[in-house]
């Protein structure tokens, strides 16, 4: 061993400032752990997961996934009784894992073919096959397997004060932004009817057809449904081991019964499951998270739910502590879609402190598109998210919209301008104010309406008498205040259109079309589901593609600027310079040429940093004169490149020195005997320059001309300048090149600004 080697092994680790810097980042608040299978802390392909197995004798299952009938728990029994299609099972289970995996990503194998096979696959086989796909293959499979043609999104709408005006305003904003479903909940359970009413009113103010739910305890939830205040529910959790299922106070039969009970009252039902819950609740039986989730999703399908909210949901941070966690979560979404279920694919609970890591995880669902890309995008600041969610929130909206625009991907959220958002927020708050007044609920004040319209979060809302609110909520439930009552209240107060939208939602309950898989409702009342608007993707040129009017709409972020208008600032009326005549070479050794670009102080009037060209010229002239030189302004017309502008100027300069400057403000000090692309000093950070900088450039140019000792003008470095300004640079330079007159000789310019003013 070398001396250095032994030194390295024996000495304690030195502390490095870079390690310390990384350790202080947000990411490092989270624990990463090595897999520990016995506690279920393994994301997928666990060492204790059973081999896929299905033995059928005389038409009956006798063994499944490592267990004999006698050892079947309630989940196994339920799956055998209701989930597996035995006529398909023999064929499907006999196929090699890899062959099925390849079918999932083969554009020439139809979705319907692989969905049919899935009906005969056991949970272990589903997990095993999904485990064979790499992340890009999983994304591709998800895109192909999604039930509904077009993706959509779901919003969370809550606030810490349970303010009805703010709930209505946020619901309206979410709806106008294109969310197809809105979910609220309660901090205090008794608030449920009031929150459900606020959400109903707000949603239909923003866009008719948006579905709403209020996540509360089942009895209360069913009451809200019976009264027509909500249209969907996704509170029905299932688990992958019997012990956790029972600890959750349910069985597959009780949950399946509840699902049918909800459907009987016109509620679209979506179950909830997700990797990690069994490990968190302490009974994983040493199985991997993905295998247990495959059991959950199989139960969901067997119970007859049209869909599932999955993608780890509230346990996401636990799954992400493990190697392959992000991939396992994507794999569970794929299994759910493969089982022909609507998928609301998580991304609601906070996945990471790190924005980078969180968004890397999101891409798995965002790029393929799912029925609901998030199970709850927080339309309000996450501080107000009483689900404990807010993985993405109000402050992240522009990022989300920009990433949609970057990838040409429909993530289910539409850009809407401030005027429209505040208009619809105010209208919703007014509407809920009217409903509360008509129904004899505690009044919503004008101050609340105003704060809900323009405030940031609940801390901007006036406090309400919460004791009076919960009392009124109890009475509302007792009086069975219904969706129809809400519509009539709006009608009496002149909100005719919102009243009609709410009646239309009541009519949807009568036809019950939204109980089918992946249903959402268009503004005109048309239900779109996997039945009448299925995903038929079979490769490029097929399926849902973001194009046409929808693509135009998703591009048009409110802050997108018109390229034609960029860089048109500055005074374009007053003349800054006047052409004197064709320039000839000077002879005065004290002469410094200021060579400006073709558009300088003409078609373009200010630098990229917004400095008026007249002020810039004045600063350069002042600097040069102070240093004892004689400045002379020349316009180079034949070329727009700063090196050639400066070099052409140097050829004309009596001293052989010129300061060349482009319209955007980039400058070079050049000397006649140098090659054009060489220079004395280059000033390439135009966005950072002040008039003082240009004055110093003038001084330095003079210094070179007069043979003085010259220290370079101090320049700063901004690594973000390019990202920030490259568009402006491009546009300004384009206008400069448009002003080029090929072969035109340079001309002398007179500065229109008298020396006294300078």
């Amino acid at each position: 061993m070398s001396i250095e080697g032994s030194f390295l092994t024996e000495s304690p680790a030195r502390s490095s400032a870079r390690f310390a810097s990384r350790a202080a980042r947000e990411l490092r608040r989270e624990l990463l752990v090595a897999p520990l299978a016995e506690l279920g802390l393994v994301a997928a392909n666990g060492p204790n997961d059973p081999e896929p197995e299905l033995v059928i004798e005389n038409g009956a299952v006798v063994r499944m996934d490592g267990r004999a009938t006698a050892d079947f728990d309630v989940i196994d029994r339920f799956l055998v009784g209701h989930g597996l299609d035995l006529e398909i099972a023999a064929e499907a289970m006999a196929l090699p894992d890899l062959e099925i995996a390849r079918m999932l990503v083969d554009v020439d194998v139809a979705r319907s073919d692989v969905v049919r096979l899935a009906r005969g696959l056991t949970p272990a086989k589903l997990a095993r096959v999904a485990g064979l796909l790499d992340p890009v293959e999983l994304m591709f499979a998800l895109k192909k397997l999604r039930a509904r043609r077009a993706p959509a999104n779901q919003a969370h709408v809550t606030n810490l004060k349970e303010s009805p005006a703010l709930l209505a305003a946020d619901a309206a904003e979410a709806s106008v932004r294109g969310f197809a479903e809105l979910e609220t909940t309660v901090g205090v359970a008794r608030y449920a009817p009031l929150n459900a009413i606020s959400l109903l009113v707000g949603s239909q103010t923003g866009r008719p057809g948006v579905m709403t739910q209020c996540a509360v305890e089942e009895r209360r939830n069913l009451e809200l449904a019976i009264n027509g205040l909500v249209t969907y529910a996704e509170t029905l959790s299932v688990y992958g081991t019997e012990q956790v299922f029972v600890d959750g106070d349910d069985t597959p039969w009780s949950k399946a019964f509840l699902g049918a009970a909800y459907a009987s009252r016109g509620v679209k039902v979506r179950f909830t499951s997700g990797t990690g819950s069994e490990a968190l609740m302490g009974y994983s039986q040493g199985m991997s998270m993905l295998y247990l989730e495959a059991r959950c999703i199989s139960v969901v399908r067997a119970a007859g739910s049209q869909g599932v909210q999955n993608g780890s949901i509230s346990c996401v941070a636990l799954v992400l502590s493990l190697p392959g966690g992000t991939r396992a979560i994507l794999a569970e979404n794929v299994i759910a879609a493969w089982l022909d279920l609507e998928v609301a694919s998580g991304n609601d609970a906070i996945a990471s402190h790190s924005a980078i890591r969180k968004t890397a995880k999101l891409m798995g669902q965002f790029l393929p598109g799912t029925d609901f890309v998030t199970s709850g995008y927080s339309v309000m600041p996450r501080h107000d998210n009483t689900f404990g969610g807010g993985n993405y929130d109000a402050d992240d909206l522009d990022e989300w919209l920009t990433i949609q625009r970057d990838w040409q991907i429909d993530g289910g959220i539409e850009p809407v301008g401030e005027a429209e958002v505040t208009r619809v927020r105010e209208r919703a708050a007014r509407a809920v104010q009217a409903v509360f007044a008509e129904l004899g609920l505690p009044s919503v004040t004008d101050a609340e309406v105003e704060a809900a319209t323009v405030g940031y979060d609940a801390s901007d809302m006036p406090d309400r008498d919460r004791a009076a609110d919960v009392e009124a909520a109890d009475q509302a439930l007792e009086r069975k205040v219904s969706g129809l009552d809400v519509a009539l209240a709006l009608d009496r107060q002149g909100f005719d259109d919102i009243a009609r939208a709410i009646v239309d939602m009541q009519r949807q309950r009568v036809s019950a079309d939204y109980l089918q898989t992946s249903a959402v409702i268009d503004p005109d009342g048309l239900v779109r589901s996997a039945v009448n608007d299925p995903n038929l993707y079979t490769g490029p040129g097929t399926g849902y593609r973001l194009e046409g009017a929808r693509w135009e709409a998703l591009q048009a972020l409110p802050h997108v600027v018109d390229a034609a208008q960029l860089g048109m600032g500055g005074n374009t009326v007053d003349e800054v310079v006047a052409v004197v005549g064709e320039a000839i070479a000077g002879t005065d050794p004290a002469e410094v040429v200021i060579a400006v670009g073709p558009a300088f102080a003409d078609a373009i009037r200010e630098t990229i940093n917004g400095l008026d060209h007249g002020d810039v010229l004045a600063a350069i002239i002042e600097g040069a004169e102070e240093a004892g030189a004689l400045p002379r302004i020349v316009r180079v017309r034949r070329v727009a490149d700063v090196a050639f502008i400066a070099h052409d100027g140097a050829q004309l300069s009596g001293s052989g020195i010129a300061l060349g400057i482009q319209s955007k403000g980039t400058a070079v000090i050049h000397r006649a005997d140098l090659q054009p692309l060489d220079n004395l000093e280059l000033f390439g950070m135009a966005p950072l320059y002040s008039l003082e900088s240009y004055r110093a450039m003038g001084q330095n140019a003079a210094g070179y001309a007069l043979g003085k000792r010259v220290g370079p003008v101090p320049t700063e470095l901004d690594n973000f300048a390019r990202a920030k300004l490259i568009v402006r640079t491009t546009l300004l330079h384009a206008r400069e090149t448009q002003a080029v007159v090929s072969g035109a000789p340079p001309v002398d310019l007179a500065f229109a600004r008298p020396a006294a003013i300078r």
Binding site: S254, S264, R265, L488, V510, D513, G525
Partner: protein, 136 residues
């Protein structure tokens, strides 16, 4: 015209003639005007067993057997009183009922003309007994 589950979905837009409220109002009569005049009341704003059975058929021909089964149970439960729904749910939760009590619920369901759901409860009872999820 008879109902064809392969083409008649969505019922609300394709076959409104087949959809009515429990009291017999046509779907087209579920309007704000009807609510104003009092001909439409909240209790009547819900799907009928017939509508839910049609939705079950739509699911079945779309290849969704389990969803169809669930909608079939929903059609039966549409006629079960609201308060009883949650009683049955509670009875089906683990460790809440004896096998006999579950059988009593199954018989009540038979009485409500809900044979599919009754069978479902009986099936649960057998599983619960085997797995120790019933009261003694």
């Amino acid at each position: 015209m008879t109902f064809d589950p392969t083409v008649d979905y969505p019922l609300g837009t394709r076959r409104p003639d087949l959809v009515e409220t429990p009291s017999g109002l046509a779907l087209g009569e579920v309007t704000l005007e009807a609510a104003r005049s009092g001909t439409l009341v909240a209790a009547d704003v819900r799907a009928t067993p017939a509508t839910l059975r049609r939705q079950a058929e739509v699911a079945r021909v779309a290849g969704r057997r389990q969803l169809a089964d669930s909608l079939g149970r929903a059609a039966e439960l549409a006629g079960v009183p609201d308060d009883q729904l949650l009683e049955i749910y509670t009875a089906l939760r683990p460790g809440r009922s004896t096998a006999g009590e579950l059988e009593e619920w199954a018989q009540r369901l038979d009485g409500w003309e809900a044979p599919l759901t009754a069978a479902f409860v009986r099936e649960a009872a057998v599983a619960y007994v085997d797995r120790g999820l019933v009261l003694d």
